[in-house]
Structures are given as structure tokens and as C-alpha cells.
């Protein structure tokens, strides 16, 4: 027996002596491994992950609910896995929402369900907004399993794989109606203007206001050298208003504008009414302002020309057919200080001023049948005439002789005009 043991020990000793160098030779030497990014298959990244594969429809739902009211959505969950999955939906509040959604606002039925492979289960998600909820937008997720997307670093909230997104707008009809939600006008430098903003309180309680100039609509055009300066500063505008709009009454906010003599360009701004009522969201309590400063010339535009034959001279002057002003003028739009375009025309030759006769005044329009370039929701107006633009034309005539002439045109309420001079014998 001892003899056998001695042989075995001796054999192991010899094997170990032979094996040591070979084993040492097979110790892996650390080396730098270059990973080719193109070889990483995103689809295979989580192939080995063990998570429930559910299909959730809809994946997104939006609700608009008044405080004290509720709404609901039915979500169908389909098991795309090969084993039964227990879906137990819960609210996962996302922290990046405008307002924090409360878990207690949601009721989901059934609370839990075992879903066999390739079968569907409907869940009813009911959202109840309490009466004292803040007006605004809320966002949250409804997760049906607790499987989360793995991340190599900690995240502030888990990203659930089997979830849907729920967006809720909590709103209420405004207690104050802003009957003048914007002020848009073409104004002349050096002149004063007064505007009225009407606020109607339809609630049964008084509501405080504190109108002031706001930066929220501070937008100016960008040219090649940066943004343009406004036509005038905020201090050109004076606002006077009551501090309270009484229940059931209409209050008037007076806006006085003194356009400086040297102003030109446009002014965009806003008045934040600072309406102290939860039914008014931030942007709802704003009155937009846009003023374009119009500089009325005092000297006429002049054009000299020479006629080589005796005969009548005809002058035709038109306002810009695409001018916003012309459009507003003829279409009866709401420019607050609406005045007609007109032209003061003079014609002189070597003998002095020549009497001109206004032959005719013409309104030219552009009309569409709504066939193209209209918003899709106005497509049902196709086939009905729609005015697009208009222009105003005055035609003058004067008898004349060959010689040098000077035409003078002083436009009023026309920011662009064109002229045509016709002379010479007719055919």
C-alpha cells in the first residue's frame, strides 16, 4: 500500500515539475484591444437582458381636464413574450414636467392582470383632477412592469421599458375676457395715439390687475448686422388702469403712445396685464403690441421728363398693390387709425405749373378661388371668391406742349407707389 502511495506522489511531483513552465507560458499577456464602433449592434446590446416584452397601445395620450373633472383612456397591453407576464400598472412621475403630477390623481383598473403570451388586456386609466389643482401642463408615465432601461450611470428617475406617456392639460375657462388682445397700428412719428384695452370680468368675484410693459413679445428683425433697434423705447407708452376689475363689470385700460419725432422702424412689445386669477395662464394675460412707424413726407417726390411733341400728358399713380395698408384700407380690416391713401400731384413745365385734371380713380384687386396655398382647414372654401390684395390708382391728364416737365408726387398714407407718364400722339 505504502509502495503505491509513494509511486502516486512521485508521479504527481514529476507532472508538476513538467507542467509549471507550460502553465507559466499560457498566462495571458494584457494587450490593448481596439473596439470598432461599427461592430456594436444596438439591437443586440440588451439581447441578454431579461425583461417582459409588452406592446402598449396607445403609447401616448393627451387629456384636457378642468379642475374638479376627470377623463379616462383605455390602454391595450399585448403580451409579445413567450411566457405569462403580470402587468401591475403604476404612475411614474417624471420630474421634467412643467408641474408635478400627483400619483393620487390616477386610478387604474384592473390593478393587476396576468397576460398570457399573444393575448391582450385592457386597462382603464382614469385621471381625476382635484378642484385645487394648479392650471397648467402635467406630464407623467404609466408603467406596466417594473423593467427599467439599464444605464451605466445613475439617473434621477427610472426609464421604464413597458410604459406609456400621459400628458394632461389642466385648464379652466378664463374668468377675464380680454376684448382687445392685441394692438396693431401704423403710427406717424411725432404724433400721439390713445388705445383702450377692455377687460370683462365674467366671474362672481373682483379680480386684481396690474398692467405693465412686458418683455415677452420683444422681437425685432435680424439683418446682416444683427438685430434692429425698436422704433422707440418703452417709455413712449403710458398705461393707466384700475387695480381691480369688479365682478361682472368691464374695466378699461388706457394706453397712450407718444411717438418720438425721430422714430422709425417698428416696435414690438407686450403688456402683461398681471391678472391675479388662476384661470389666466402666463401668456393668456398678455396684450401683444406691434406699431409700425410711418413717416409722412412733407416734400414731394419729383421726376423730370422731356416730351418732343405737343399733346396731352397722362399721369397714373398707384399705391403698392401688396401693401398691407392698401389691403387693410380696401378690405375693411381693423387698422385702428384707418385713412385712405391719396396723392398730391403737381406738374410743371417751362411756363410754370400746369393744371391737371383727375380723370379717374381706380381700385385694382387680386382675387383667389382658394385653389392653392391656403391652409388645409380652409380647403372647404374652394370655389368661393376671396379678396387677396387691392391697390388704389389715380389718373391725371394735362394738355401740354413739347418741352421739359417736372412731375411732383406727395403721397399720403401710401408707403410705396408707382407712376406711369404717358405722352405723345396717339395712334
Amino acid at each position: 500500500m505504502n509502495k503505491h502511495i509513494t509511486k502516486i506522489v512521485l508521479g504527481l511531483l514529476i507532472m508538476s515539475i513538467i507542467a509549471v513552465p507550460n502553465a507559466a507560458a499560457e498566462v495571458p499577456v494584457p494587450e490593448l484591444i481596439m473596439i470598432d464602433e461599427g461592430m456594436i449592434d444596438p439591437d443586440s446590446m440588451y439581447m441578454d437582458m431579461d425583461f417582459a416584452r409588452l406592446q402598449i397601445n396607445p403609447g401616448y395620450s393627451n387629456m384636457q381636464i378642468k379642475p374638479g373633472n376627470s377623463d379616462e383612456v383605455t390602454v391595450t397591453v399585448t403580451n409579445k413574450d413567450n411566457e405569462t407576464i403580470t402587468a401591475a400598472p403604476f404612475v411614474s412621475v417624471v420630474t421634467y414636467s412643467d408641474n408635478l403630477f400627483e400619483k393620487s390623481w390616477v386610478t387604474i383598473t384592473p390593478v393587476s392582470a396576468d397576460i398570457a403570451p399573444d393575448t391582450k388586456q385592457e386597462f382603464l386609466i382614469e385621471v381625476n383632477i382635484p378642484q385645487d389643482a394648479d392650471i397648467g401642463h402635467y406630464s407623467t408615465s404609466i408603467a406596466f412592469t417594473d423593467d427599467v432601461m439599464p444605464t451605466p450611470y445613475p439617473t434621477p428617475y427610472p426609464d421604464y421599458l413597458n410604459s406609456m406617456h400621459l400628458s394632461v392639460d389642466v385648464w379652466t375657462p378664463p374668468n377675464i375676457r380680454i376684448q382687445t388682445p392685441f394692438l396693431h397700428d401704423r403710427v406717424k412719428s411725432g404724433e400721439n395715439y390713445d388705445y383702450k384695452i377692455k377687460l370683462e370680468n365674467i366671474a362672481d368675484k373682483d379680480i386684481s390687475i396690474n398692467p405693465e410693459i412686458s418683455d415677452n413679445n420683444r422681437m425685432y428683425d435680424f439683418g446682416p448686422f444683427g438685430s434692429m433697434s425698436p422704433a422707440f423705447e418703452d417709455d413712449a407708452i403710458t398705461i393707466t388702469a384700475p387695480s381691480v376689475v369688479k365682478a361682472g363689470e368691464t374695466a378699461i385700460i388706457n394706453v397712450h403712445l407718444e411717438v418720438p419725432d425721430d422714430s422709425k422702424g417698428s416696435y414690438s412689445g407686450g403688456i402683461d396685464l398681471n391678472i391675479d386669477d388662476p384661470s389666466i395662464r402666463e401668456w393668456d394675460g398678455q396684450v401683444q403690441m406691434n406699431f409700425e412707424v410711418w413717416i409722412q413726407p412733407t416734400e414731394p417726390y419729383t421726376k423730370t421728363f422731356t416730351t418732343r411733341t405737343d399733346g396731352p400728358v397722362t399721369i397714373e399713380i398707384s399705391s403698392n398693390p401688396f401693401s398691407e395698408y392698401a389691403y387693410a384700407m380696401w378690405m375693411g380690416a381693423d387698422t385702428q387709425n384707418q385713412e385712405e391713401p391719396s396723392f398730391d400731384v403737381t406738374l410743371e413745365n417751362e411756363s410754370g405749373e400746369v393744371k391737371m385734371t383727375l380723370v379717374k380713380t381706380t381700385c385694382t384687386g387680386k382675387v383667389s378661388l382658394g385653389m392653392s396655398n391656403f391652409p388645409p382647414w380652409e380647403s372647404d372654401s374652394t370655389g368661393i371668391y376671396q379678396d387677396l390684395s387691392a391697390s388704389y390708382t389715380e389718373e391725371y391728364s394735362a394738355s401740354g406742349a413739347a418741352g421739359d416737365w417736372t412731375l411732383g408726387i406727395l403721397p399720403d398714407n401710401a408707403d410705396m407707389f408707382s407712376y406711369t407718364i404717358t405722352f405723345g400722339p396717339g395712334e
Partner: protein, 196 residues
Amino acid sequence: MKKIIDLCAVLLFIVLIASISGCVVGTDDEALENGVAWIGTPPADSVAIEKKIIQQAIPYTGTKYENITVSALQNNGKLRLHVSGVLANTMRIDLYDFTYNYDKKELTRVSYLLEAIPESVRGEAIGIAMQDEQVRNVLSAGMGAYGNPSVKRILPETAEKFYEPKTLLSVTWKHISLSALVDVDAGQVVDVWSGN
């Protein structure tokens, strides 16, 4: 002298009878308020057609057409009707185009362009549109872009394709190809078109 008195008496009697019968003074207010005025000769079945027009040409909620005028034209065997409705205190009108099928006695609305909207609602819709971020961004892109938009009523049948089957208002700055679809009840813009 007696002949003149007799003649005057006869004329007075005729005028009196005519007044009572509605020929001269008696334009029926009720009929005018609820009926339509035809331009030219009314077509056959005009009374039945009028009733159908009134059922389909409905003014903005809470308002009433001051008058409705209809012109009719026979075209390729079909009766085409052009209807305009005018609201009190507004220069803007509602326009409808219909066809009438005599065989089926059906009135089909082909087109509509509805701008007869109370000024307060019109202003509110423009204000809501101008508060939309996307609209503001487009409007701020160029001087003079603000302009005066058109405001048109979009009927629920059309609105359903873009939002919900309810009356919406389309606020459009045509010269810069910008339009906002506004839900005045909810005080929000539900869709924006910028020429694309």
C-alpha cells in the same frame, strides 16, 4: 269737385286694401327674418329649398342672420345656389355654395367661406393665435408681417379632420402663408399651418 273727392276716396280705399293685404306696406317681418331673399326669379320648389338652406346655413353661435340672399343658376342639369348671410353690426358675410338635386330633393353644401363673426370673438381668436409660440416666431420673422389676418369659421365637419368635431376659427395671415386653427372655447391654438 265731387269727382275729385270720389276719385280720392277710391284711391284711399285701394291704398288701404293694399296695405292690409301686405302688397305695399305689409312686408312680413317674420318671413323676412326667417326666410331668404332670392336674386332674380326663384327656381322651382323654392319654398322647399329655402327651408333646407335655413337648416344648413347656420350663423355663428348666439347670432342671427339679418338677411340671407340666394342666387340660383341651372348648370348641367343641376341647380347651383350661392347663398350669403349677413350679421347685424358686421360688414363681413358668410358665403355658402350648394347644389340642389330635384330628384332626391337633396341640398348638398359644396363650399363655404364664413367670415360673419362677432367682432369680440374675432379679436379674441386673433389674440389667442398671436399668443402661440410658433405663430409668434413666424410673425417676428419680418417687418410688417403682422398685417391684419382674416378670421374664418371652420365648421365641425372640417374641424374633425384636424382636431375635434367642433366649431373652430382659422386666423390667417395670407400674405405670409401663416394660419392658426383656434379653439376659442379652450383658448388655444390646435394647429398651425405655415405654407407647408
